[in-house]
Amino acid sequence: MTNVLSLLVVIPLAGLIPLFLFRKDERAAKQVAITTTFVELVVSLWMLTQFVPGEAGFQLVERLQWLPSLGISYLVGVDGISVFLVPMTTLLTFIAVLYSSGGAIKTRIVEYMTAFLLLEVGMVGVFVALDLFLFYIFFELMLVPMYLIIGIWGGPRRIYATLKFVIFTLAGSLLMLVGIVAVYVASADPSGTRTLSLPDLIELRGRFPADFQFWAFLAFALAFAIKMPMVPFHTWLPDAHVEAPTAGSIVLAGVLLKAGGYGFLRFGLPLFPIGVQAWLPVLIVLSVIAILYGAIVSAVQKDLKKLVAYSSVAHMGFVTLGIFVLNLQGGVGAVLQMLNHGFVTGALFLFVGIQYEKTHRRMIADLGGLANMWPLFTTFFGVFVFASLGLPGLNGFVGEFLVLLGTFAFSGAPPLGGLFWGPLAAIGVILAAVYLLWMFQRVMYGPVREAYRALPDLSRLEVACALPLLLLTVILGVVPQPFIAYIQPSLDRVIRLATDPSFVVVAFK
């Protein structure tokens, strides 16, 4: 069956129907949401088995006429870059919903689950859409549910945080809309036929003149840079994360940020090779700044959740650096880093949330000695902290190592080559170890506080949420090769498209 991707888009929507029917019954609503996201997860894993590794092109493609008068079609498909992002999304959503139904969310459960299912439609859709119009719709569809999730179920400053999040994101995405329409207008062939289908656009990108690429890439890059977020557009992130409910943070960090990096790889690089070259120095400098700045700012945070939030800025810096060094190691590293960050930072937010539910404290200074009471918690949390700082054997190492390799190999024109940026980025890895270990020490060790002595260790539900992430962290760290084999061919094509403007791919018809 080849319409598995549409199935993935439709399942969460279908889940809304029983959710509406059971809107008076909170227990049933939870069960509906858990079932729906679980089915979605299973189908996404099945999709993975349908995917043939080793091919560069899009697979499981579906195309339907949608707006014939505008030449826009419903076009979905996956390649090596997106094939893991979809199951990552469904897994993190399932975990978020599962964790939320354990008592973390107490008010308006039905609306909450509705928002999560809608969010899942947007997130999955973003990673499978191959038509820019469709992509934009899914990209924005992620926005409103997350706006509600932060604004309704968030912390004390939730309204400030959620408006900031929405306005930042909208500013970027509306400019991208102008960019998308500009691409649409520029795609016209002599007979006036226009398209927004990505495979077609890649084929005819020779029609985009250099100055057009310069501006169009900027329009796209702003949207993705805000979503990632890249420095200096990151200021919404700490606010949003601190105020968001735990499950919201998991999905926000785990999935929504990836839409930015994915967008660069999927649209920015292949469509505008000349534009990319023009902006390359800026993007690389900003990436390295993000790595160092994110790490330094994390180190001085007093709030545990904010620390994890800023560490995301640094990690996303590695992703963008890997993308913009425009070579295979860097690119593969960036994609792996996106997956790793999804699992690891998702897990870190989960544990910060669990910890907060128990102690009701988030300030690092108020915590301490937790390791003595919570052996299970300590083990899990420890593994994720080590994965986040890039310990060999865990997944974080693989991604960052490949990105650094790629950076050292980078020989581009910007002021200084890879031999300058590589060591600087490597300092970021060391800084990550500093702030994460320091945090771990202050939170987990030291004298036990009397107030926390009676608090229980992880519950069965919490273990169930964390275990899949733990397994993936180890598997991706020990045997990354099978994953790389999926990613590599597609990524290789993207890099060639980005580095050689005359490289032509004739897409499927």
Binding site: L141, V178, V185
Partner: protein
């Protein structure tokens, strides 16, 4: 005048008949029966009129060239009638509560709609002007229909004075055109101007006067001053209708005159329109940002939407897609803006005017479905998919870029961000604040809820499947650019 001529204007005749029947029925029926019968009569009659729009007469000129029937006419006729049905459906509970004379109210809406439809079918300056006046004069009455309310009186007077002023300007412009071309029908005018080639002094004067006159009607900055007070002071259902019907009609007139008759003029007027569009959308949005009263905020935001529509007019040289964008946006705007204003009817309590932001607190809990509809309209007005408002933005930006006005496209995008700020602030109030201590009971009419439900559903469905409407708009825009 022949039978064919009559057949060509069946929809207008039916709507007029509906208005007259409503007036007679109002006189015959007692108050209680009238409250039920009049809206039903109006809606049923308008639905018949809507069906008659699709009764095909060959696209041609009728009444010796005073009337033209083409896809453009049908599109606007349908839009006007749909908006009138919507406006009639949301009103009954309000009218009963506030003691507004229902018969007059529905009749006025029908008369105004006839005027708007006349604009859409005009092939001549005289028909167009008659249509314009037939549309606006009932609206003056509508604005002041609550005779004892001093804000309504203020609204009506302001609207009337500026409306009369702008009509005079427009008419003066028409006179200049007549003086120059010795004709009042669009085809001859266009032919004359095309033959003349380069624009000279008198044609520029005529063009400027017409632009200003129609600019008043459409509320383009700096000719917008009447809008906020008129919208704010009028009865809320009247505002809902006023904010969409006449605006749509003004754009029908702008397309017919500026793009149709004056199209061949050898002067690049698009730069002027583009600047007006940018000023209008930015000004409307910035002032809307500062409002704490939702009704006034929506009034200013409707000015901003005028700017978006005008941007598509400015992009006329992009071809039919520009006209289609105007048509599509007008339809989308009508649906979502009328819906948004109508949602304020839930807050229409004794002693309040419009709805301050505080009154909206916790609306999401007090009236879940009403709040959902309101949220959908606001998200659509912001331009976030999957709503019709997003598609409307998309189809407007496209001709704007096609016409080489990239800066204007960026201005549109940035304005949408500004607008998001105040639209979403309402959503914040509805869903993220708790209701105040004493919760005044919300009012709800059944027809209000049902029609809002249908409209908000349409906003989403047409946002996902806009093809047929856009196709129709594209067809309707063809005759403009021949």
């Amino acid at each position: 005048m022949t039978g064919v001529d009559i057949a060509a204007v069946y929809p207008e005749i039916i709507v007029t008949a509906v208005a007259l029947i409503v007036l007679v029925a109002d006189a015959l029926l007692d108050r209680r029966r009238a409250a039920v019968a009049l809206p039903l009569l109006t809606i049923a009659g308008l639905i018949v009129a809507l069906a008659s729009v699709f009764y095909v007469v060959p696209a041609a000129q009728y009444f010796r060239g005073f009337v033209t029937i083409d896809a453009f006419t049908s599109f606007f006729r349908a839009v006007f009638i749909i908006l009138a049905i919507f406006a009639a459906a949301v009103s009954p509970a309000y009218l009963a509560r506030r003691g507004v004379p229902a018969g007059e109210y529905y009749a006025i809406i029908c008369f105004s709609t006839v005027g708007a439809m006349t604009i859409a079918l005009s092939a001549d300056l005289i028909t167009l002007f008659i249509g314009l006046e037939t549309m606006t004069i009932p609206i003056y009455v509508l604005a002041g229909i609550q005779r004892t309310d001093r804000f309504a009186n203020e609204a009506a007077i302001k609207y009337f004075l500026l409306g009369a002023f702008s009509s005079a300007l427009l008419l003066y412009g028409f006179v200049w055109l007549y003086g120059i071309t010795k004709a009042t029908d669009f085809v001859t005018i266009a032919g004359f101007l095309a033959a003349q080639g380069i624009a000279n002094g008198p044609t520029i004067v005529a063009l400027a006067l017409v632009t200003v006159g129609l600019g008043f009607k459409a509320a383009i900055i700096p000719f917008h001053q009447w809008t906020p007070d008129a919208y704010d002071g009028a009865a809320t259902p009247a505002t809902a209708f006023m904010s969409v019907g006449p605006k749509a009609a003004a754009f029908a007139a702008i397309l017919r005159v500026l793009l149709g008759a004056l199209g061949p003029l050898g002067v690049d007027w698009s730069a002027v329109l583009a600047i007006l569009a940018a000023v209008t959308m930015t000004g409307g949005n910035i002032v809307a940002l500062a409002q704490t009263n939702t009704k006034r905020m929506l009034a200013y935001s409707s000015i901003a939407h005028t700017g978006y529509i005008l941007a598509a007019v400015a992009a006329a040289k992009a071809g039919p897609s520009a006209g289609a964008a105007v048509l599509f946006y007008v339809f989308a705007y009508g649906l979502m803006n009328l819906g948004a204003f109508a949602c304020l009817l839930y807050f229409d309590l004794e002693g309040t005017r419009g709805a301050s932001l505080d009154e909206l607190n916790g609306f999401g809990r007090r009236q879940p479905l009403g709040a959902l509809a309101f949220a959908i309209f606001l998200i659509s007005l912001t331009g976030i998919p999957p709503t019709i408002g997003f598609v409307a933005k998309f189809v407007v930006i496209q001709p704007v870029l096609d016409a080489g006005l990239a800066w204007l496209a960026v201005v549109i995008a940035l304005n949408a961000v500004l607008a998001a700020f105040y639209y979403l602030r309402v959503v914040v109030r509805m869903y993220m604040y708790d209701p105040e201590e004493k919760q005044p009971r919300l009012v709800s009419g059944r027809t209000l809820s049902v029609s809002l439900g249908i409209a908000s559903f349409a906003v989403i469905v047409l946002g996902i499947l806009p093809n047929s409407i856009y196709q129709w708009a594209l067809q309707a825009a063809q005759p403009l650019v021949r």
